[in-house]
C-alpha cells in the first residue's frame, strides 16, 4: 500500500513538472541571449501598431516589451518557431512578415505568378498571329536587297539622324 502511495505521489510530481516546464521540454535555463539572437527573431515580426516597421528596429515602448519577451523566452530555451508561433497565437497572423500559406492567403501567393503567366501567354499568342501575318505579307512581297550587316546599321543610324537633324 505504502509503495503504491509513493508511486502515485511520484507520478503526480512528474506530471506537475511536465505541466510547468516550457513547451520545448528544455529543462535548464539558457545563458542570457545576445541582442543579435533577439533581433534575428524580432526581424521576422511586426507589431500590430507600428505598421510596416519590423520589430528589430521599432523604437516604441510596446515593441521594446515584445523584444524583452523574446529575450525571456529564448532564455527559457524556446525555439525560434515556438516564439514566432506564440506571437501568432497571441496577436494573429498579421505579426508575421508574410501571411501563412493557408486558406484565403494562398491567393496572395498564387495570383501574381498566374497573372504574369497569363500575360506571357497572351503575348506569345499575339506574337504568333503577328508573325503568321507578316510571313504571309512577306511571301507576297518581293525579297529585300541583300545588305552587309554593318552598312545596314550605318544606313539606319544616318536615316534616324537625318529625320531628327
Amino acid at each position: 500500500m505504502k509503495s503504491r502511495n509513493i508511486f502515485l505521489t511520484a507520478s503526480g510530481l512528474l506530471l506537475l513538472a511536465a505541466l510547468l516546464s516550457p513547451p520545448s521540454g528544455v529543462q535548464a535555463q539558457q545563458p542570457t541571449p545576445s541582442d543579435d539572437e533577439v533581433n534575428a527573431i524580432a526581424r521576422q515580426l511586426y507589431c500590430p501598431v507600428c505598421e510596416n516597421t519590423p520589430l528589430d528596429v521599432c523604437p516604441t515602448q510596446a515593441c521594446k516589451q515584445w523584444r524583452d519577451e523574446i529575450r525571456l523566452r529564448l532564455a527559457e530555451g524556446w525555439t525560434e518557431e515556438e516564439i514566432l508561433q506564440y506571437f501568432v497565437d497571441e496577436y494573429g497572423a498579421r505579426v508575421l512578415a508574410e501571411p501563412p500559406r493557408s486558406g484565403l492567403n494562398w491567393l496572395a501567393y498564387i495570383v501574381p505568378p498566374l497573372a504574369f503567366l497569363a500575360g506571357a501567354y497572351l503575348l506569345f499568342r499575339a506574337f504568333r498571329s503577328w508573325r503568321a501575318l507578316a510571313r504571309q505579307q512577306a511571301a507576297e512581297a518581293a525579297p529585300p536587297p541583300a545588305t552587309n550587316g554593318k552598312d545596314e546599321y550605318v544606313a539606319r543610324l544616318e536615316e534616324e539622324l537625318r529625320k531628327r537633324g
Binding site: 545576445s34 541582442d35 543579435d36 533581433n39 511586426y46 500590430p48 505598421e51 510596416n52 516597421t53 519590423p54 528596429v57 521599432c58 523604437p59 516604441t60 515593441c63 521594446k64 494573429g92 497572423a93 498579421r94 505579426v95 508575421l96 512578415a97 508574410e98 501571411p99 486558406g103 484565403l104 492567403n105 491567393l107 496572395a108 495570383v111 501574381p112 505568378p113 497573372a115 504574369f116 500575360g119 506571357a120 503575348l123 499575339a126 506574337f127 503577328w130 508573325r131 501575318l133 507578316a134 505579307q137 512577306a138 550587316g149 546599321y153 550605318v154 539606319r156 543610324l157 544616318e158 534616324e160 539622324l161 531628327r164 537633324g165
Partner: protein
C-alpha cells in the same frame, strides 16, 4: 478674415474649373469655338486663384496664426521661416492644396501652347484637367479645409470652417510643430518632387483622352506629350530617389527601401510610366501598340490618383479607417469614374487603334520592348496585390495580414533580373527584324567581356549565385551600352570624317532621347550594384557597450569613446556618442551617432556613417534601449557597395534630363 478670404478664393477656383468643364463640352458639341476659348481662359484663371489661396496659407503659416487649425498642427514658434513655408505640404489639407496648385500651374501652361495643328484636342484637355482640378478643390473645400479655425464650444475645442453657435475663437500661443522626421532636407524636397511627378502625368493622360474622344488615331498625342512624360518621369524618379536617401539617413534601420505601402504607392505609377515611355517609342517608330499605350497611360493616371488615395485616405491602416475618413470614398468614386469612362472610350475606339504594321520577329526591338512591358506590369501586379490583399483579407475574414520585404523581394527579384537582361539585349536588336543569328553576332563580344564582372567577384572569394548572376548582368548592361555609344560614334566618324569625340557629341546631341536613355541604363546597372550589395551582403550586429568596449563587424572595430547629452538651442535634447572606427587595427575616423528628442517627444535617430565606394559602416546609437554614459547600446550595419545606388541615382537623373531636354535644331527645322 484671411482664412475666410482664402476659402472664398478656393471656392471661386472650384466654380471656375466647373465652368471650364461645362463651357468646353458645350463649345465643342455645339460647335461654338468662343465657348471653347472661354473654357481655355477659365482654365488659365484657376492658376492665379489657386496660387493666391496657397500664398494666403503660406502667409498664415509664416505669421504663426495658430487659430487656424492647420497652422497649429504643422508649425510652432521655434521653427525657422523656410520650414514654415515647407509646412504647406507637411499635413493632409496643405498637401492637397499643393497638389491642386501644381495641377493648376501645369494645366495653365498647357493651355498656353500653340494649338493650331491640334485644335480639336483643346476642349478635351481642358475637360480632363479641370475635372481633376475640381475634384481636388472639392476635397479641400468640403472635407479638408486648410483654413478651418479652432473654436471653443460647449463640447470642447474643435476645427470648424464657419463659427458654430455660442463659440469663441481659440488662439493657442504656440503650435505643435512639424514632425521632426519631415524636417530633413531630403524630406523637404521629396514630397514636392513626387507630387510634381504625379501631377505632370495628368497632362499626357488628358491628351490621350482627347485623342480617344476625337478619334485621332495617329501618334500626335504622343509626340505632343513626349517631353511632358519624360519630365513627369524625371520628377517621380527624383522623388523616389530622395525618399530612399531620406529613409537611409533618418529612419535608422540601415536600409533605403522597406516595401512600405506608401513607398509602393509612388513606385506603381513609376512602373507603368516606365513601361509607357518604352512602348510609345514602338508606336512612334512602327505604328504598333496604340491600344496598349492608351491602356498604359490610363493606368498611370489612375495609379497617380490611387497613390494619392493610399497615402491620404487612411485605408492602409484599416479598411474601417477608410470608411470613416471623409475623403476615402470620394477618391474611390473618382478613380472608378475616371477608369470606367476612359476604358469605355478606349473600347469604343478600339478598332481604329489597330496597328499599321505587324510584328515580324520575336527578337525584334519592338518585341523585346513588349517583353519589357510585360515585366514592368508583372512587378506592378506584385506591388498592387501586396498592397490590396491585406484589405481584401480584412474584409473577407476580419484578419489583417502583413506583406513585408520577403514577399516583394522574392517575387520581384527575378523580374528585375530579367529587365536587366533585356536592357543588355534590346539595344542590340534591330527594329522590324532580328534573328538569333544577327542578335548572337552582335552580343557575343559584350557577353564575353562582361564575364570580367563575375570573375572579379569570384576572385574576392564570393560564390553567392545571386551575386554572380547580378554582377554579370550589370557587366553586360554596361558593356553593351558603352559598345552602343562606341559603335554609333564610329559609324558616324567614318561617314562624316569627324573626330571620335565630335562624332560622339553630335550623335548624342542629335538623338538625346536614345542616348539619354542609354545613360539611364548605365545608371540602373550602377544602382543594381548598390542594391545587390545591401540585399546579398548586408550584415549587422547589436551590443550594449561600456566606455572603452568595442564591437567587431566585417573587419571593422567600433570603439565606444564617450557620450554627451545636451539641450540644443532649438529645444531638442541631443544624446550624442563618439566612437572610433578601426580596420585591421588601423584608426580610420571618429563617428558621432546620435539621437534627438524634440520638445513634443518625437525622436529622430541620426546614424554615424563612414561611407566609401566599397562599403558603408552605419553606426546607430539605439535610442529605444536605455542609454547612459557608462552603458550604451549600438547597432552597427555593414552595407557593402551601397554608395553605387546614390551614384547611379544621380546619373539616372542626369540621363533623364538629357533625354527630356528640348532639341533646338529640330524645332528650328520644324519651323522652316
Amino acid at each position: 478674415m484671411i482664412p475666410d478670404f482664402g476659402l472664398g478664393i478656393l471656392a471661386m477656383a472650384f466654380i471656375v474649373s466647373l465652368f471650364a468643364v461645362g463651357a468646353a463640352i458645350y463649345g465643342e458639341t455645339a460647335h461654338k469655338p468662343r465657348w471653347v476659348e472661354s473654357a481655355r481662359r477659365a482654365m488659365l484663371l484657376t492658376f492665379p486663384l489657386v496660387t493666391l489661396a496657397a500664398l494666403l496659407l503660406i502667409y498664415l503659416l509664416v505669421s504663426g496664426r495658430y487659430d487656424v487649425e492647420y497652422v497649429y498642427s504643422v508649425t510652432n514658434n521655434a521653427m525657422p521661416s523656410y520650414l514654415k513655408v515647407t509646412a504647406l505640404w507637411g499635413g493632409q489639407p496643405g498637401s492637397l492644396l499643393f497638389w491642386a496648385w501644381l495641377l493648376a500651374a501645369f494645366a495653365s501652361a498647357v493651355t498656353l501652347r500653340k494649338w493650331e495643328r491640334d485644335r480639336e484636342f483643346l476642349p478635351w484637355v481642358v475637360v480632363v484637367a479641370s475635372v481633376t482640378l475640381a475634384f481636388f478643390l472639392a476635397l479641400i473645400i468640403f472635407f479638408e479645409n486648410p483654413f478651418a479655425r479652432l473654436w471653443q464650444t460647449v463640447d470642447g475645442v474643435a476645427a470648424y470652417t464657419f463659427q458654430p453657435a455660442n463659440s469663441l475663437l481659440v488662439t493657442p500661443a504656440d503650435g505643435n510643430g512639424l514632425n521632426p522626421l519631415l524636417r530633413h532636407p531630403g524630406m523637404i524636397i521629396h514630397p514636392p518632387m513626387l507630387y510634381l511627378g504625379f501631377v505632370s502625368f495628368v497632362i499626357p493622360f488628358a491628351f490621350a483622352f482627347a485623342a480617344l474622344i476625337t478619334g485621332r488615331s495617329d501618334d500626335r498625342w504622343i509626340r505632343i506629350t513626349r517631353r511632358w512624360t519624360l519630365w513627369a518621369w524625371l520628377f517621380l524618379s527624383l522623388g523616389l530617389a530622395l525618399g530612399a536617401r531620406w529613409a537611409y539617413d533618418v529612419l535608422g534601420w540601415g536600409g533605403y527601401w522597406g516595401w512600405d505601402p506608401v513607398e509602393i504607392a509612388a513606385l506603381m505609377p513609376w512602373l507603368t510610366g516606365t513601361a509607357f515611355l518604352h512602348s510609345v517609342i514602338i508606336q512612334e517608330k512602327r505604328g504598333l501598340l496604340k491600344q496598349w499605350n492608351m491602356m498604359l497611360i490610363i493606368l498611370t493616371y489612375d495609379l497617380v490618383i490611387f497613390g494619392t488615395f493610399l497615402t491620404r485616405s487612411g485605408v492602409l491602416s484599416s479598411v474601417h479607417a477608410f470608411a470613416q475618413s471623409a475623403i476615402g470614398p470620394m477618391f474611390f468614386a473618382f478613380i472608378g469614374l475616371t477608369l470606367v469612362s476612359s476604358v469605355a472610350l478606349l473600347i469604343w475606339r478600339w478598332p481604329s487603334l489597330k496597328a499599321e504594321v505587324e510584328m515580324k520577329s520575336m527578337l525584334s526591338r519592338e518585341a523585346l520592348f513588349l517583353l519589357n512591358n510585360l515585366l514592368f506590369i508583372g512587378i506592378l501586379v506584385v506591388c498592387f496585390w501586396g498592397v490590396i490583399f491585406p484589405l481584401i483579407s480584412e474584409l473577407a475574414t476580419g484578419q489583417k495580414v502583413t506583406f513585408g520585404p520577403p514577399f516583394y523581394e522574392r517575387a520581384t527579384a527575378p523580374l528585375f533580373g530579367a529587365l536587366m537582361a533585356l536592357m543588355a539585349i534590346a539595344p542590340l536588336s534591330a527594329w522590324g527584324h532580328s534573328t538569333v543569328r544577327t542578335l548572337g553576332r552582335a552580343i557575343w563580344k559584350p557577353a564575353v567581356i562582361a564575364l570580367a564582372a563575375p570573375l572579379a567577384t569570384l576572385a574576392f572569394g564570393i560564390t553567392n549565385p545571386v551575386a554572380l548572376t547580378g554582377f554579370y548582368l550589370v557587366g553586360l548592361v554596361v558593356t553593351v551600352t558603352i559598345y552602343e555609344f562606341w559603335r554609333g560614334a564610329r559609324a558616324r566618324q567614318s561617314a562624316h570624317q569627324e573626330g571620335f569625340l565630335t562624332a560622339l557629341w553630335t550623335l548624342a546631341g542629335r538623338n538625346r532621347r536614345r542616348y539619354g536613355g542609354y545613360i539611364i541604363h548605365i545608371a540602373m546597372a550602377l544602382m543594381a550594384i548598390g542594391i545587390l550589395g545591401i540585399e546579398v551582403f548586408q550584415t549587422e550586429t547589436q551590443k550594449s557597450l561600456g566606455v572603452g568596449e568595442s564591437i567587431e563587424l566585417a573587419g571593422y572595430t567600433v570603439h565606444y569613446d564617450s557620450l554627451a547629452q545636451f539641450a540644443h538651442t532649438d529645444g531638442r535634447w541631443v544624446t550624442r556618442a563618439e566612437v572610433s572606427i578601426f580596420k585591421d587595427g588601423v584608426f580610420l575616423q571618429t563617428l558621432a551617432p546620435r539621437y534627438d528628442v524634440y520638445p513634443d517627444g518625437q525622436p529622430m535617430t541620426i546614424a554615424g556613417v563612414r561611407s566609401t565606394l566599397a562599403d558603408d559602416l552605419y553606426v546607430l546609437l539605439v535610442n529605444w534601449e536605455s542609454v547612459s554614459a557608462s552603458q550604451a547600446p549600438f547597432k552597427v550595419y555593414h552595407n557593402p557597395l551601397v554608395n553605387w545606388l546614390w551614384i547611379g541615382s544621380a546619373i539616372f537623373i542626369l540621363g533623364t534630363i538629357i533625354a527630356a531636354w528640348p532639341e533646338k535644331e529640330r524645332t528650328a527645322t520644324a519651323g522652316k
